[in-house]
């Protein structure tokens, strides 16, 4: 019915100046999605815990589109608005790209190098840990812990990340204040 010829009535109802066959523009003749020839990686949506599978289309290190994965039994290609906005989360001018440092009492950020920040953080960690580490309680129980340094966060992180956090912070540094959103 959509391909049928226009009836006389249709033509009468139409605009007088109708162009019978509109020419296609150069862009229209070339029309193609930007995914042709792209590479694709498989990801998992970073927002809620439903675990939607995402396809990350990219070319030359640039993300082209992040969409649902049809093959997933969970989302079957679909996404919610947050999942659909993952491109906007990843490719976002507001993203931090440098380490920002605020000195005690300062009213502004300074950009610092990653290496400097890592060294300073390690120094602060050692200094605070050495100051607060308890090997044994007064009643002689070995506790090997520090309550001077804490960690918070993990529900948005990967399992491998949580694993090395717990391993270093708790088993390696003796930190007992290790917590995340699953509690609160």
């Amino acid at each position: 019915m959509l391909s049928k010829k226009r009836s006389l009535g249709d033509i009468i109802r139409s605009h007088v100046g109708i162009v019978p066959e509109r020419p296609l523009s150069p862009n229209t003749l070339r029309i193609q999605s930007r995914l042709e020839g792209a590479e694709v990686g498989v990801s998992v949506c970073p927002y809620c815990a439903v675990g939607c599978s995402q396809l990350v289309y990219h070319r030359d290190g640039t993300v082209l589109s992040i969409e649902g994965n049809y093959e997933s039994f969970i989302n079957g290609g679909t996404l919610c608005p947050k999942g659909a906005a993952t491109y906007g989360l990843v490719v976002n001018p507001n993203r931090l790209t440098t380490v920002k440092y605020r000195a005690p009492g300062s009213d502004h950020w300074e950009d610092v190098s990653l290496d400097w920040a890592m060294e300073r953080i390690a120094q602060l960690t050692k200094e605070t840990r050495d100051r607060t580490f308890v090997h044994q309680t007064p009643d002689g129980k070995t506790v090997n812990r520090t309550t001077g340094i804490a960690h918070l966060g993990g529900a948005t992180l990967d399992n491998e990340e949580n694993y090395v956090i717990k391993k270093l912070f708790t088993a390696g540094l003796g930190m007992v204040y290790v917590e995340n959103q699953a509690r609160i």
């Binding site: 997933s72 000195a103 812990r145 204040y177 995340n180 609160i184």
Partner: protein
């Protein structure tokens, strides 16, 4: 999640997302699923299209309600009344699944005759030690248990390991029972008496739900449970965030056991979790009281001094947890590598021991007091995302140093410049001595790794593109921090140096100098130490130091070299066992032994899942059996046996010490063996049931500023609840900076009914100030008939609804709803009460800029 763990054995959703499509009835309560888990909701819609009844029970008419067949408006904080009402209905009308209950639950077990219920003691169970704010649960035990099934509880610690929760039955085995369920001391009769007062009339009186609506729900559940049909329940933090949270969830587990809906297709309980890997972050915990795989952190209260002590104390005599020593020793081998050997107790001594509650609230209280000096904040935004957020900001301002790793310049990194306290002059930037590092982090498509979703499914994501600039994933940060510290401690002979230098910290690095993430997953899975071969599963773990395993419940995810099952991607029309890996052992429906009758035959053809194949001598079916695969249904309980031998071939709940689903929890919950109604700590309604109005063992940290409104405080006459919207994520750290999301919900608003709006004198869109004893904030009024007062005990109770996504940074700003919430916690897992408290509302604005 002891709400589920203490009754079923594991702290995870019992079902799979796609299995919701097989349900005949789905009840969504404590969750706004269509808004917060829209893609999982597609299976609810699928069930609805197949004819299932969808029921939404909630204080607010939300987008979930709009799609449900029935919406039941319930007063915030009255959930247990409703659930106990359903339990009573099933018992009194005998609509429960009797054969299932008799065979698979502890309904028949006899309880210590000393036990006294809240009905006998005016609102408390026997064993309350009021001055310590805790229970001694020895009177809650099975008859003949000479020792309490769990070690003594400590008010200082906020939770227990699962090994403690599932009980440690020491007495004569098996415990005495009455198969007819008539003995007055059997669980079934205790339960019947306990819920007898939760009549439809009481539900109407306390929940504000008309009796006929309640009965319609009860009938729908009864109609859709039994051999041929199943009902599924879905919940989220709408249940969790109460001072009775795990008890609410436990009431649901109790009801689902009673109706015979656990372990069966289209049944179960779907715990809907809010962050991509929040399940993973409790399995492999960044939580103070747990080690990976729900092993307990050693502490100084229990007999934990040596590894031997720890194992003696922690290992239940019966059930699957009897294998605990293998998991603990293998973990120590994963942590301390070749330094861990039998001679030095596998470095057990190096694990820090707890002497108190180090959960989030004590952490911030300690930070405010100057005891916690440095904080690593990795993907969390407490300055607006934690309750009593104003206090959290104050605490951040008292740290010596703070490392924030995030994608954007979140509030927790800028409190010294932008917080309301600085803007109002209460805090001065120059006086804030905190040294702050804000480090750019990476997001899923920029890093390799796995996350564990709401149905315990572990899925791998590829590093597809590079993170921008200096941004890195956490493995890079943690590895190099550890490496630098080890270099700094080199040559030092101190206990703290020995602890760190003993850590096995040799990870292969890739060409960017980052640890190879897949190697970490391989360590989590476990391997044999001698030849570094991957463990095929946790059954291969040993307690002699010959195996290392970073998280026993994840073992099997990487069962052999080159075989990363988290990466497998084969879906099918059944349970998609070829897609990812669900812990434990790729089981999709937990406790699925219960899908078959005691003889091993499916309860019905329509609801078959796994069954005993007599010819093959093994369990088979559509899912991986959650049961020893060759243990026949007729294998009897061995008297005075240990481990799995103590359970019969018809005991589906293998993690529990007696193999049963627990209607009554002799151990595992600190606030009682049965769910009972307590009002929230702040409530506009008086609890008419007992003299004890609120949870007697709820936690409260008295300090200046953390004031609570009195019960029925006329200055705070309205109920208030907080929640999320589809368009944003949690406190907004991943949505307020994303233009396409920010524009969809650009402003903080308060949802109120037209009647309340009239009383306050505001029109839709006007500004209102919402106040609690902690703080006051401003929001735009969204006046909607979707909000409505509840008629409770003869009075109209209005509810104010606040989405909590905003803060003082980002593309869209607004006050943080969390500024209003108090620092109180329920006693099992230290969860706050953000879903039911009280407030006042007035017209106007606060005179300050954001």
């Amino acid at each position: 999640m002891p709400g589920l763990g203490a009754r079923l054995g594991r702290g995870g959703a019992t079902t799979a997302e796609n299995d919701l499509g097989n349900a005949d009835c789905i009840v969504i309560m404590g969750s706004n699923m269509a808004e917060n888990h829209p893609v999982c909701f597609r299976y609810v819609m699928k069930a609805r299209e197949r004819g299932a009844t969808i029921i939404h029970v909630d204080p607010r008419f939300s987008r979930t309600s709009a799609l449900a067949d029935r919406f039941v408006r319930i007063r915030p904080g009255s959930d247990i009344v409703f659930l106990n009402g359903l339990i009573r209905y099933a018992i009194e009308n005998e609509t429960y699944f009797k054969e299932y209950v008799q065979a698979y639950t502890n309904a028949t077990t006899l309880i210590n005759p000393e036990f006294q219920d809240v009905e006998d003691l005016d609102g408390v169970f026997s064993g309350l030690i009021p001055e310590e704010g805790r229970y001694d649960n020895s009177s809650w035990q099975y008859q003949g248990q000479t020792e309490p099934p769990s070690p003594p509880m400590h008010e200082q610690l906020s939770s227990m390991s699962y090994a403690q929760r599932v009980g440690n039955l020491e007495g004569k085995w098996p415990p005495p029972s009455d198969p007819t369920m008539q003995d007055p001391n059997c669980v079934f009769q205790i339960l019947r008496r306990h819920v007898s007062r939760y009549t439809p009339e009481l539900v109407e009186e306390l929940c504000g739900v008309p009796q006929e609506e309640f009965l319609a729900v009860a009938e729908a559940i009864s109609r859709n449970s039994g051999r041929e049909r199943t009902t599924a329940w879905c919940y989220a933090v709408g249940w969790t965030q109460h001072t009775t949270g795990p008890q609410i969830i436990g009431a649901c587990a109790l009801l689902q056991l009673l109706m015979g809906n656990i372990g069966r297709p289209g049944g179960g309980i779907m715990a809907l979790r809010g962050h991509a890997s929040i399940q993973g972050s409790t399995d492999i915990p960044t939580l103070y009281d747990l080690l990976p795989g729900y092993l307990a952190m050693p502490n100084t209260f229990d007999k934990h001094e040596t590894l031997h002590d720890y194992i003696e104390t922690e290992t239940p005599k019966t059930g699957w947890w009897h294998n605990l020593p293998r998991y603990m020793v293998s973990l120590l081998k994963a942590y301390y590598g070749e330094n861990a050997n039998p001679e030095n107790d596998f470095c057990y001594d190096l694990l820090p021991k707890l002497s108190g509650d180090y959960s989030t609230f004590p952490l911030f209280l300690a930070a405010r007091a100057g005891a916690v000096k440095g904080l690593f904040l990795m993907g969390q935004n407490p300055a607006v995302g934690n309750v009593d957020a104003g206090f959290m900001r104050e605490a951040l301002a008292h740290l010596d140093w703070l490392v924030v790793r995030d994608l954007f310049e979140i509030e927790s990194a800028t409190f010294w410049r932008d917080s309301p306290e600085v803007k109002s002059g209460r805090l001065k930037t120059a006086d804030i001595k905190t040294e702050v590092f804000l480090m750019p982090a990476a997001v899923a498509p920029e890093k390799d790794g796995t996350s564990t979703n709401t149905q315990r499914l572990i899925q791998w994501h590829d590093r597809t593109v590079e993170p921008p600039g200096d941004a890195t994933g956490e493995p890079w940060f943690i590895y190099h921090l550890g490496r630098r510290l080890r270099e700094m401690y080199a040559g030092e002979d101190t206990p703290q140096a020995r602890q760190l230098q003993s850590l096995d910290w040799d990870y292969p690095l890739d060409e960017r100098g980052e640890p190879v993430v897949e190697e970490i997953l391989k360590e989590i899975n476990g391997y044999t130490v001698a030849d570094r071969k991957q463990l095929p599963g946790y059954a291969a773990a040993r307690d002699d130091g010959s195996t290392a395993c970073g998280c026993w419940i994840y073992s099997g995810v990487y069962p052999e070299e080159g075989k990363n099952l988290a990466r497998s991607r084969v879906s099918d029309e059944q349970y998609s066992l070829g897609w990812g890996f669900a812990w434990p052992s790729n089981r999709r429906i937990l406790y699925n032994r219960a899908s078959a009758d005691p003889e091993g035959r499916p309860w019905s053809e329509r609801k078959k899942l796994i069954w005993w194949d007599e010819a093959e001598g093994k369990w088979t079916g559509h899912d991986t059996p959650d049961f020893p695969v060759d243990k026949a249904p007729n294998v009897p309980v061995k008297e005075d046996a240990e481990g799995m031998d103590a359970l019969s071939g018809a005991d589906p709940f293998i993690m529990m010490s007696d193999g049963k689903g627990w209607l009554f929890t002799p151990s595992g919950l600190r606030d009682g063996p049965l769910p009972t109604h307590y009002e929230p700590l702040e409530s506009p309604v008086e609890n008419p049931l007992y003299a004890q109005k609120t949870n007697p063992v709820a936690k409260y940290w008295p300090r200046r500023g953390n004031r609570l409104a009195r019960q029925q405080d006329p200055n705070f006459p309205y109920a208030i609840t907080t929640y999320r919207l589809t368009e944003h994520h949690t406190a907004g750290g991943m949505s307020r900076w994303v233009p396409w999301l920010a524009e969809l919900q650009p402003s903080f608003f308060a949802e109120i009914s037209p009647r309340l709006a009239a009383r306050v004198g505001v029109d839709n869109g006007d500004w209102v100030v919402i106040s609690t004893p902690r703080n006051e904030i401003e929001a735009r009024a969204l006046v909607t008939e979707r909000m409505h007062a509840h008629r409770v005990r003869g009075k109209e109770v209005e509810t104010v609804g606040l989405p909590y996504h905003w803060g003082y940074s980002g593309l869209v700003k607004g006050d943080a709803a969390n500024d209003l919430v108090s620092i109180v916690a329920e006693p099992n897992v230290s969860i706050e009460e953000a879903k039911a408290f009280t407030c006042n509302v007035r017209k106007g604005r606060l005179r300050r800029e954001l």
